[in-house]
């Protein structure tokens, strides 16, 4: 089965593809995937060449040990189908289980159920200062230019002023009795509580998603630092400075307004989790929750809408950076949701 001279290039490809497909097989089992075939013979030949040609080997016992060690490995693979290079095959997400989760999430959000639950923060795992990840972040600065990302400057002051009337309207609505739950959420979210992000994923006190919580805490830490870089660069006034008649519901942080760090960190959590477990059915709900956390800062009178939009934009720009520096955490988070141990 070899290509003839007359074969056109396309037909030669067809012939070549069939050669490879018939020479070996890719076999999957419950937990492994491996190539079965004779491709390993070239490795045996390499070993023989080594035995004959390496002049430095004088210690017979050492060589024998090497030959015994590698030979046994080769024989095991050649006597049975070759398994060299094969490895673990993880299970895929269990679709039907996730469908159930997905449905319940939608229902919860449609009814405002999850929102109601989230008015009381739950106890999530906390972390110390993430020194290792901080080091990785600063090592990656020149490669990713994370302090020079193309984030547009804030709108002109007149345009920002035009956003204030909406905040005044929200302020009035926030004082109504039926918005007690939102006031409570604003208070909880001021402290970077994880409840808003964990509940959409199906994590609660009975299945706390510890690795996920740890990764989210790390993102909050690192995200805060990046956000402050941009806040310092643009030094935009807070809404209550633009309009002293505004009465922010909670104390106003000392940092400037643009971009909103809560919006940035919330959407960053969603972006990174979407990269870690892309098929998680709670992702749409997580993005919506991120949006709610961000919007609550507008209700509280701390940010105008353009601050929120900039935070979201900055989160998207930082997604690849965080996927790189958190790659080890992403691996264990994925393992956590796939119901398996980490791969190493």
């Amino acid at each position: 089965m070899t290509a003839t001279q007359a074969d056109p290039p396309g037909k030669a490809k067809y012939t070549e593809y069939r050669e490879i497909l018939t020479a070996a097989k890719l076999i999957a089992t419950d937990t492994r995937i491996e190539v079965q075939g004779d491709g390993y013979n070239s490795l045996r030949a390499a070993l023989r060449a080594y035995e004959q040609e390496d002049p430095d080997i004088s210690d017979t016992e050492r060589v024998n040990k090497l030959v015994e060690k590698v030979g046994a490995f080769l024989d095991r693979s050649l006597d049975t189908p070759s398994a060299f290079g094969g490895g673990k095959l993880h299970k895929s997400l269990h679709k039907s289980l996730h469908k159930s989760l997905h449905k319940s999430l939608h229902k919860a959000f449609a009814d405002g159920g999850a929102v109601q639950v989230a008015t009381g923060g739950l106890a999530w795992p906390t972390i110390e200062v993430p020194w290792r990840e901080l080091g990785l972040l600063y090592k990656a600065r020149d490669r990713h230019n994370w302090d020079r990302l193309p984030l547009e400057p804030p709108p002109a002051v007149d345009d920002r002023m035009a956003e204030i009337p909406r905040l005044r309207a929200l302020q009035e609505k926030l004082r109504l009795p039926e918005n007690a739950w939102r006031r409570r959420r604003i208070e909880i979210e001021a402290g970077n509580d994880l409840t808003a992000y964990m509940l959409p994923l199906g994590a609660d006190v009975t299945s706390p998603g510890s690795q996920t919580a740890v990764m989210f805490q790390t993102i909050l830490w690192l995200g805060s630092l990046i956000g402050l870089v941009y806040k310092a660069r643009f030094n935009a006034s807070r809404p209550h400075v633009l309009d002293p008649a505004l009465e922010p519901y909670i104390p106003v942080p000392a940092y400037s307004s643009y971009p909103s760090n809560h919006a940035f960190q919330s959407y960053l959590i969603a972006e990174v989790f979407a990269r870690a477990v892309p098929e998680h059915p709670g992702l749409p709900a997580l993005f919506r929750a991120a949006g709610e956390v961000a919007e609550n800062r507008e209700w509280a009178g701390l940010h105008v809408a353009s601050d929120t939009a900039a935070g979201r934009r900055l989160a998207r720009l930082c997604g690849p950076l965080f996927e790189e520096i958190l790659k080890d955490q992403i691996r264990v988070v994925r393992a956590e949701w796939l119901g398996e141990g980490a791969s190493r």
Binding site: T29, D30, R32, L43, K69, S92, H94, E279, S343
Partner: protein
């Protein structure tokens, strides 16, 4: 040890019983391709395929655009499958950016030709001043720019593999487990006998982020329209707000999407909505009729070999009853376990107490869909080594190149692969004009869809 467990151990060491480890027998990763399944090749021994042979000599390859996560274009089984010249990312800006801003025409003649043709198209259609066209021309003519910071995603890579992966060979190195190993570098060629449904098509990755940003989606759809893709794959659901009519961005997404559906064959995953509903944008799939001008995309659900819905896939009759059009093809997992489908795999009916093994059922396929994965420590099936092999580089293992894949996403990729092969090989549709959604969507049904719909 109980009698039952002794028996099960004996069975496992007896040569006449199924091979494999754990609770399931082993299976060929390309089990879905032969006749009797998708009908792409005759069998898994000789891999003869009249359709592959025809497709290999086609005047030009079918162009399949995948709007999804970034694709690992360095994957050895995707070499030649990915159009590097058109590969574009929209996750970071609405007008997007070429993933590889500079291509050496000597090394990548086909890819460079694609990009030059795109430039010509923009000029001929007078799109130089449109945001997308303007941005693309600026990238082609302007100074060298850094490539966008994107990282390949497992989902898009798996879609691409099912559609257009090619068998390949790689250089495999035995890792040094011990100091003594360093005296003996063992390197050899290793076949990678994995193949997509149409290994002669060309795939254009159009990458987007997970956040439902309408500007990003509209940009990606605009681009798929601009490159005139024959087939577009959207194995995703876009979470648009309930009041989307009030948002210019979402209205534009809908307009551009329907325009794209009129030009290309668009396949969308049916998704995990309630059993009688489709996710957006698959929900725009409509049965043709006098009141329906835009039939929109083809929604794709998942079924078993004998056409029974899989457990997570929307119910075919209910979807069709609601006026949508949906086809169904293979994916991973078992069919529903209910009164209609009958007893397939009853986990409570245990015959092997030690292993918890349920009784075998000839109708229950123990196979999963296998596809390509991001090489190295990322992806669905991460490597144990902290080593990411580059294009043409050495590999320590091959397992991380592959993964299980499932859902209506996998079914969508399979449907798109079958239609692309039917188009490229000019496959005859045969007699009749059966409803392509009624049975397992295989190559013959794909040919009928290409011819009649």
């Amino acid at each position: 040890m109980t009698e039952t467990s002794r028996n099960s151990l004996n069975r496992d060491t007896c040569g006449s019983h199924p091979l494999g480890k754990g609770l399931r027998p082993s299976f060929h990763a390309l089990w879905h391709l032969p006749e009797g399944r998708l009908g792409v090749v005759k069998d898994l021994t000789h891999f003869e395929s009249a359709d592959w042979e025809e497709a290999s000599t086609a005047d030009k390859p079918v162009r399949v655009a995948i709007i999804d996560t970034p694709i690992a274009h360095d994957h050895p089984n995707l070499q030649g499958a990915i159009d590097l010249g058109l590969m574009r990312d929209f996750s970071l800006s609405p007008a997007g950016a070429f993933v590889l801003p500079r291509l050496d025409p000597t090394d990548f003649p086909d890819d460079d030709e694609s990009r030059q043709n795109l430039k010509t198209t923009i000029e001929q259609k007078n799109l130089e001043n449109e945001p997308l066209g303007k941005r693309i021309l600026a990238e082609i003519h302007g100074p060298d720019t850094d490539p966008p910071h994107i990282i390949p995603g497992a989902h898009g890579t798996a879609l691409a593999g099912l559609i257009g992966a090619r068998p390949a060979r790689v250089c495999l190195r035995k890792p040094d487990y011990h100091e003594i190993d360093k005296r003996c570098s063992i390197v050899g060629a290793q076949e990678l006998p994995y193949c997509g449904i149409n290994p002669f098509c060309r795939i254009v990755p159009i990458s987007i982020g997970a956040g439902p940003d309408p500007d990003m989606l509209a940009g990606a759809l605009d681009y798929a329209y601009l490159i005139d893709a024959d087939i577009v794959v959207i194995a995703d659901s876009w979470d648009r707000p309930d009041d989307w009519h009030r948002h210019d961005g979402w209205r534009r997404v809908e307009t551009v999407f329907l325009k794209l559906c009129r030009q290309s064959r668009v396949f969308c995953a049916a998704g995990n909505e309630p059993a009688d509903a489709l996710v957006y944008p698959a929900a725009l799939a409509r049965k043709p009729g006098k009141d329906v001008r835009d039939t929109g995309p083809w929604a794709v659900g998942a079924c078993t070999l004998d056409g029974k819905d899989l457990s997570y896939s929307p119910n075919w009759q209910a979807i069709n009853g609601n006026g949508h059009r949906m086809i169904r093809t293979l994916s991973t997992e078992h069919s529903r376990y209910d009164r209609e489908v009958g007893a397939r795999l009853d986990p409570w009916e245990i015959v092997d107490e030690e292993l918890g093994r349920p009784p075998g059922d000839p109708d229950f396929p123990p196979h999963d869909i296998i596809s390509t994965d991001v090489p190295g420590p990322a992806g669905y099936n991460p490597s144990v080594y902290d080593h990411t092999p580059g294009a043409g580089g050495e590999h320590y293992e091959i397992a991380s190149l592959y993964c299980r894949f499932s859902g209506t996403s996998a079914a969508t990729a399979i449907a798109a692969g079958l239609v692309s092969l039917a188009m490229q090989s000019g496959k005859s549709p045969g007699q009749g004009r059966a409803d392509p959604g009624a049975t397992l969507f295989d190559l013959g049904t794909a040919a009928r869809l290409v011819c009649h719909y």
